[in-house]
Structure formats: structure tokens, C-alpha cells
């Protein structure tokens, strides 16, 4: 764990992301909700993080900022050495497309597309030809163990199967960083273990994995842990890196 002080501003080369005093405030009426209230830490390439904390502590807010879906209200967020504040919407979109993979608690598959088509969406935006897309979708489906359901719609799958599809889709662009917001939140423990095994495999292949969870036994899979409370970092351990 590196808690940065203001005099060390530029990030190190092996840091994928680095947050400096990042705040995210929401104005609701005349009240200000401090979802994140001054968070500083950095993540190295190839690490495996769990973000923990009670409900409402700002975990999802943090993950959204890390995933470039949201921007800090103040503070600096460095992405591969570039300040995100200087990037426009298209650049952030392209970054998500090329470098990030998302897995959500509620799967977030597109209901009118088949399993194969869902997995192909990122490749479509990357401009991959159809045959290549098809082949890669098949390979990914096989990897997550869903290849027998390629022509099915998400509504015809179980929760665990849907999450496998979501993981396959998150991997479709060969992302360097995998972001997961409570990926096992809607799954039974047996399926959760299978999904976590997949994450472990990806981590071992050198991907950076950032996982939001409030279940301690899921957090155990991660190699480093950060605990949030009321928008600030309560503790941070980088133990088993």
C-alpha cells in the first residue's frame, strides 16, 4: 500500500491507475453526498484487488471512476500516466473499449441478443470482421464453459450461466484490467466459486483484477484488499502480492 503525499505527483511506470485525493460528491437538493471523500492509492499492473466496505461506503462509485464511467469531482486520477481530467468522452470510451472489461452484479447482458452476439459486442465496436468475431466468441464461450448455449437468449439462461457470458464478454477485447462489481452477488456459493476460479485464472495470466465485494470469503481470493467506509479508506493491505 502506498499512500501518496502531494509532493509525489507523477505516477510510477508500473502503476495502471493512481488516485490522488479523489473526491466524488453528489448534490442532492441542498445536501452534498460525499460518496468518495479524498481517496488516494494506486494499483500496479497484474495485481488482484478487492474493494470492501459496508453498503453505501462508496465502493461502486470508486469502481466506476476506475472504469472511466465516471469522473472525480476533484482530485487527480492518473490512467497509464495520463490525467483523466484531460481526456474527452471519446477517449474515455476508447479506453474502456480497448483496455477494460466489466462484470456486473446484475450481469447486464443485452436481452435481445443471443449469447454469441452479446460476447461479440466489444469486438463489433473494435471493428473485427464477422468470421473472426464468431470464432473468438466460440473460444471465449468454451473458456467460461457456456459453448453449448451460444444461440440462446440471456433470458433462457440461469444466473450462473449469464454471469459466465458476462465474463466472456468482458474478455472479448483482451482487456488489461478486469473490473467486477459484486460479480457473485446474485449467485449461489457453488457458482460463485466457479466464477472466482475464472478470475483467479485471469489473474494468473497477468491481468489486473479489481473486485468489489462485501463478502469476506470472496475477498479472500484477492491478493490485496482495500476497505472503504463513508467515502474514505479505512484500511489497505497489500499483503500477499
Amino acid at each position: 500500500m502506498i499512500v501518496h503525499t502531494t509532493e509525489r505527483e507523477r505516477p510510477r511506470a508500473d502503476e495502471v491507475v493512481r488516485l490522488d485525493e479523489v473526491k466524488r460528491h453528489y448534490r442532492v437538493g441542498d445536501e452534498t453526498v460525499r460518496a468518495l471523500d479524498g481517496v488516494s492509492f494506486s494499483i500496479r499492473t497484474g495485481s488482484y484487488w478487492a474493494i470492501m466496505g459496508p453498503s453505501g461506503s462508496g465502493k461502486s462509485t470508486m469502481l466506476n471512476i476506475l472504469g472511466c464511467l465516471d469522473r472525480p469531482s476533484s482530485g487527480a486520477y492518473w490512467l497509464n500516466g495520463v490525467n483523466v481530467a484531460e481526456m474527452d468522452d471519446n477517449e474515455l470510451s476508447d479506453h474502456r473499449l480497448r483496455n477494460l472489461g466489466f462484470v456486473f452484479q446484475s450481469f447486464n447482458l443485452i436481452p435481445q441478443l443471443t449469447v454469441s452476439e452479446n460476447i461479440e459486442v466489444p469486438m463489433l465496436y473494435l471493428g473485427m470482421p464477422q468470421i473472426e468475431r464468431r470464432q473468438k466468441a466460440e473460444r471465449l464461450a468454451e473458456r467460461v464453459g457456456i459453448s453449448h448455449r451460444l444461440r440462446h437468449l440471456p433470458s433462457e439462461l440461469s444466473g450462473g450461466q449469464r454471469q459466465r457470458v458476462a465474463v466472456a464478454r468482458a474478455l472479448a477485447n483482451d482487456p488489461a484490467v478486469l473490473l467486477a462489481d459484486e460479480p457473485t452477488g446474485n449467485l449461489d456459493s457453488a457458482t460463485s466459486v466457479q466464477i472466482m476460479a475464472l478470475f483467479q485464472e485471469l489473474y494468473e495470466q497477468g491481468k489486473t483484477v479489481i473486485l468489489v465485494t462485501h463478502e469476506p470469503d470472496i475477498a479472500e481470493y484477492a491478493k490485496a484488499k482495500i476497505v472503504l467506509k463513508d467515502g474514505v479508506i479505512l484500511s489497505c493491505e497489500e499483503g500477499r502480492l
Partner: protein, 423 residues
């Protein structure tokens, strides 16, 4: 090529989306179907009508001026008052023809004609025909293909020969026989040898110099046999009119002379006619008028079709806005995956275009079918021009883009996180 790869999945997505909401899509498309259908159908009807008018005017020739006898409007009042019989004397004179030929500059030819309706007989068949007493030059000015035999010759005129040329419709209705040339038919009190048959041009419009069943005879023969007075006996007594010439066709050396010459003719005639018992028609002017009318017609028509397309477009926009709301989550997912705003815009635009072009294509079929039905049932000519199909297609695609833009922009402007959270 790459672009096609890129767009196709979205076209497919649009199509499946349309298919999933069949009823909704169908109702939305109806606006476009009627809009595009009415554009094509109305253009086809308008085109048919104006083409017919233009053709009959063009056939009169743009170098020609038609001078016609008209019964003066004040004739009733100025008459002798005799109830048993009266003879209306009016119209153009042989002298008028000579004066026009000699005084108006640029005149190449004048063709006098007298037209009356008379009954023609062959054996027991009979048919009322329009008898055109004229000179051989008629056929040079009013060009019509000769189907059999020959037309009038200068010699016929000189000899006051009892010969006639018939139009094919006249022949068919009088005879239904092929070997008409050489036959003898009776017209009123005279017996005429049929020397030729000419083709009918498209159906007689008011201004056309020929009608369905015409018999052309030498002017001199007509004068000899029938005189210049055309008298009808009826239950109320005798009624008749004396007209020396019904019509004079004046041919000018070139189109540019036509308009000044028509003014000169007007002056010449006005000097010798106390009453306005003639009318001067300039086909060129009629042509211009017809073209102007056509333009006006097209504008009115365009406005009506435009309004129906506008209504159709608003319907599509409405549905697309609903669809954006419905698919908010999908938009969030796509944005999270890394789709730029512009790609969301493209996706929704394609979706709208699938709807509007789909409606446009159905409307196109409807628009082609309606004129066919109109022609089949009413006999009214209709012409579907290829450009109107292109226009309809362009319009429907344009409507898709114009009315799809706002919903698409709205979809793209959604905040990804808010969109993802949407249920």
C-alpha cells in the same frame, strides 16, 4: 467494405427489433406507407393528366396558331326575334385567311377548315362523324400517320372530288372491315370514296383539332355539296348557322414568330369583325400555361404529401423516443463496453431508418399499385416515373434521419452510469 461489416449487425438488430414489436412497428410504418404511397400515386396521376394535355397541345405544333370561329355571346339578343327559325351568321371568312396570309409577317402556310357534324352511312350502318372540310395542307400541319391509302391531294381540291379520308376509329365503328379504302360511303347527301385512313391520336381533348371519328373531305367539295350553312331541323322549327370557316391554322416559319404574329392576327381580325366571333389559340402559350398549371399542381400536391409525411415522421419519432427509454439499460451497457456516443447515435438512426424505409418500401408498392388500379377502373392515364420512386425512397430515408436524430441524440447523451442503473 469495412463500413458494411460495421453497419450490418445494427441493421439486423433494427430488423429484429421491428419484428419483435410487429404491431407497434406496423402502426408506426402506416404513416410512412400512406405518405410515400400518396406521393407516388399523386405524382403518377398528375403526370398522366398533364402528359395527356401536353401531348395534345404539342401535337398542334409550337409553330402553329389556331384561329377559330366562336359563336358570339350577344348573338341571342341581337337576333331578329323570329321564333320559328333563325340563321346565326358569324365566324371566320375566306377573306380573313387571305388577309392573314398576306399581311402577317412570317406566315408560311394557312390551312382553312370547316367542321360540321354529319351522319355517315354504309349499307345499314350509320355513324355521326365530324366532317372536316379542308385542304391537303391540313395533313402537313396536323401530323398523323397514314395507315392505308393516301391523304387529300391538291387535285382532289381542284376537281371537287367526292373523296374522304377517315380516322381509324371512324372506320372501325362504321365498318369493322379491313378493306375500307376504295369503299363508298354516304355522308349526308353525298357519296364519297374512301381514299385513305389515318391514325387517331390519343383521345380528343377540348383543344385538339381532331376527334374520334373524323372524315376529311376537300373544302371545295364541301362547299359544293353542303354549302356554308349548317341547318338542323328540330321539333321547335329550324335552327342553323352559317359559318364560312370554322378554323384557320396558321403556320409560322419558326416558334419565335408565333407570339408577335398572334397579336398581328388579332389586329387584322379586329378591324374586319364587328363582333368578337373568333378566338386565337396559341399552342405555345397553351403549352406554357399547361406547364405552369402542372407546376402549381405539383406544389399543392407536394404540400399535401409533405404534411402526411411529416405526420408519419412525428409518429416514428414518438416511437423511437419510447424505444430509447425502453432501451436505456442497453445504452448504458454499450457505453460501458466502450461505444462512443456517435455509435449510439448511428445505432438508433439505423433503427429509425429501418422503420421509415420499411414503411417507404411498402408505400412504394402501394403507390405503384394505386395508379394501376385507377387506370384499370377509370381509364385515366397515369405515369409512374422512375424519379418518383427514387424520390419516395429518398424521402423515407430522409424522414428516418431527420426524425431519428433527436431520439438518437437523446440516447447518446444519457449518462452511462444512470443508464446502467435504469430498470
Amino acid at each position: 467494405m469495412n463500413q458494411v461489416f460495421y453497419f450490418w449487425p445494427f441493421v439486423k438488430l433494427g430488423l429484429t427489433d421491428v419484428w419483435r414489436h410487429k404491431t407497434r412497428s406496423f402502426l408506426t410504418m402506416l404513416g410512412m406507407v400512406f405518405g410515400v404511397g400518396s406521393v407516388i400515386a399523386m405524382l403518377a396521376v398528375g403526370e398522366g393528366a398533364s402528359q395527356q394535355a401536353l401531348e395534345s397541345i404539342k401535337r398542334l405544333g409550337s409553330e402553329n396558331i389556331m384561329v377559330m370561329s366562336v359563336k358570339p355571346t350577344d348573338e341571342e339578343g341581337s337576333n331578329t326575334g323570329s321564333q320559328r327559325g333563325r340563321l346565326a351568321v358569324y365566324g371566320l371568312l375566306y377573306d380573313d385567311e387571305a388577309r392573314i396570309r398576306e399581311t402577317v409577317p412570317g406566315v408560311v402556310l394557312t390551312v382553312p377548315a370547316r367542321m360540321t357534324r354529319r351522319v355517315a352511312r354504309l349499307n345499314e350502318r350509320q355513324l355521326e362523324m365530324r366532317v372536316v372540310e379542308t385542304v391537303p395542307e391540313w395533313f402537313a400541319v396536323v401530323q398523323r400517320p397514314v395507315l392505308a391509302g393516301r391523304t387529300l391531294a391538291p387535285n382532289d381540291l381542284q376537281m371537287r372530288a367526292n373523296v374522304c379520308v377517315l380516322t381509324e376509329h371512324g372506320v372501325r365503328r362504321l365498318l369493322a372491315a379491313e378493306h375500307m379504302v376504295g369503299q363508298r360511303i354516304r355522308i349526308s347527301s353525298g357519296v364519297f370514296e374512301v381514299i385513305g385512313i389515318v391514325k387517331n391520336e390519343t383521345g380528343g381533348t377540348v383543344r385538339a383539332p381532331d376527334s374520334e371519328a373524323d372524315a376529311y373531305i376537300p373544302l371545295t367539295t364541301g362547299t359544293k355539296l353542303f354549302g356554308e350553312a349548317n341547318i338542323r331541323y328540330s321539333a321547335g322549327g329550324m335552327e342553323g348557322e352559317k359559318v364560312e370557316l370554322s378554323q384557320i391554322i396558321v403556320r409560322m416559319a419558326e416558334t419565335a414568330f408565333v407570339e408577335p404574329a398572334s397579336k398581328a392576327i388579332e389586329t387584322v381580325l379586329a378591324r374586319f369583325h364587328k363582333k368578337k366571333d373568333y378566338r386565337i389559340d396559341v399552342p405555345l402559350t397553351l403549352l406554357r400555361e399547361a406547364e405552369r398549371t402542372k407546376r402549381t399542381y405539383n406544389i399543392v400536391l407536394g404540400a399535401i404529401a409533405g404534411i402526411s409525411l411529416l405526420v408519419g415522421g412525428i409518429g416514428i419519432m414518438n416511437i423511437m423516443l419510447a424505444s430509447v427509454t425502453e432501451r436505456t439499460k442497453e445504452i448504458g451497457i454499450r457505453r460501458a463496453i466502450g461505444a462512443r456516443r456517435s455509435r449510439i447515435v448511428v445505432q438508433f438512426l439505423i433503427n429509425t431508418c429501418v422503420l421509415s424505409i420499411g414503411g417507404g418500401v411498402v408505400g412504394l408498392l402501394v403507390g405503384v399499385a394505386i395508379p394501376l388500379l385507377i387506370t384499370a377502373f377509370t381509364g385515366m392515364p397515369t405515369v409512374v416515373r422512375p424519379y418518383s420512386l427514387l424520390l419516395a425512397f429518398g424521402i423515407s430515408a430522409g424522414i428516418g434521419i431527420v426524425f431519428g436524430l433527436y431520439p438518437a441524440m437523446r440516447a447518446a447523451s444519457l449518462d452511462p452510469i444512470d443508464a446502467l442503473r435504469h430498470e
